[in-house]
């Protein structure tokens, strides 16, 4: 059964960012190719002359995909909270992807500020999607602050390194079996996305991997397919991995062509 994000089911486990595409047309075609369940969007200063934001908003409305505004670039609780308020008014949604950045080289979240901002925004009626790490104690604090979704990083934003801490992500999934979890950041290729879903994550959030591909539209389609494959694989209950080989072709009834090998197999030490 698909996870509910604050009571809402998504049409796809792919959340797609809208930044860094070569052109608005390529962004539109990429969205049509990937069929994401959510589009992430942001806010920037608008110049009255250019009105770039108005054109972008028209495009997003035309695409008809639910939006998740972010607080990207915010480094303090106050900045993030004010940005969330502005986003709620502009985009008409109480969903907010909460980013409070703590470190510039890794764009690692400031988890202390994140928890504080999450608490403030939850009390004000926001539905917070916190960009966090795989730290379980921080995750507990975010849930206590009112978050009903967690979005741990796979790797630093824009790095394309995939799932950097498989152990940590697995532990998080096991520790919070019923909390919707999204791998946000660091996914570089479709196999990373499929892997996250196979681990039991409920969605993946991708931007740079599509926008900065040589052919963003083809890559968007590849991610759409990978997410479908990963979701289906998870539902199909993957086999357990094991250390030793197990023959997939039945041995019983095999013709005895070399008695030395046959004797080994039959004695169970082949």
């Amino acid at each position: 059964m698909a996870a509910l994000f604050y009571g809402q089911e998504l049409s796809s486990a792919l959340m797609l960012g809208t930044a860094q595409y070569p052109s608005p047309e390529i962004l539109r075609d990429a969205v049509l190719a990937a069929q994401p369940g959510v589009l992430t969007v942001s806010l920037r200063r608008e110049s009255a002359g250019e009105r770039a934001g108005q054109a972008f908003w028209s495009l997003v409305q035309e695409l008809g995909v639910p939006v998740l505004p972010n607080t990207a670039g915010c480094h303090t609780v106050r900045e993030a909270v004010t940005t969330a308020h502005m986003a709620r008014e502009v985009f008409g949604t109480d969903w907010i992807k909460l980013e409070v950045i703590g470190e510039l080289d890794t764009l690692q979240p400031d988890v202390f500020g994140l928890v504080e901002a999450a608490r403030i925004l939850t009390e004000e009626g926001f539905k917070v999607f916190p960009y966090t790490t795989e730290d379980l104690v921080v995750a507990e604090r975010l849930l206590a602050a009112g978050c009903e979704v967690l979005m741990p990083w796979g790797a630093p934003i824009g790095s394309g390194k995939g799932l950097n801490n498989l152990f940590g992500l697995r532990a998080m999934r096991a520790h919070f079996p019923s909390v919707p979890l999204v791998v946000d950041a660091g996914i570089g290729v479709p196999s990373h996305a499929a892997q996250a879903l196979e681990l039991g994550y409920d969605a993946v959030l991708i931007n740079t991997a599509v926008a900065k591909a040589g052919d963003p539209v083809a890559m968007a389609r590849a991610f759409g397919l990978a997410v479908q494959a990963g979701t289906l694989a998870r539902q199909a209950d993957p086999m357990e991995a094991r250390d030793m080989a197990a023959p997939s072709t039945p041995v019983a009834g095999k013709a005895f062509l070399d008695e030395r090998i046959t004797a080994k197999i039959l004695s169970g030490c082949g």
């Binding site: 860094q20 992430t40 806010l43 009105r51 934001g53 108005q54 502005m86 008014e89 502009v90």
Partner: protein, 65 residues
């Protein structure tokens, strides 16, 4: 009166945030505003008075990840 809008110094005649939005040509645009670092909802722009040196932020939808 001198204020800053999105970090740029401007000489304006409007005395409220609502007046400023009209004066700068944002009427009808999908924007959000903040005055001196605090969010001002659309419904409160008429009451938000500008003082000399006020810092106004005007933001709009933009691509994001």
């Amino acid at each position: 009166m001198k204020i800053t809008v999105n970090d740029e110094a401007q000489e304006v005649s409007a005395t409220t945030l609502a007046g400023l939005i009209d004066e700068l040509g944002y009427a009808g645009a999908r924007i959000a505003t903040a005055l001196d670092g605090h969010f001002v909802p659309k419904t409160e722009r008429l009451q938000a008075t500008l003082a000399a040196g006020a810092r106004v932020e005007i933001v709009a939808p933009m691509q994001g990840g």
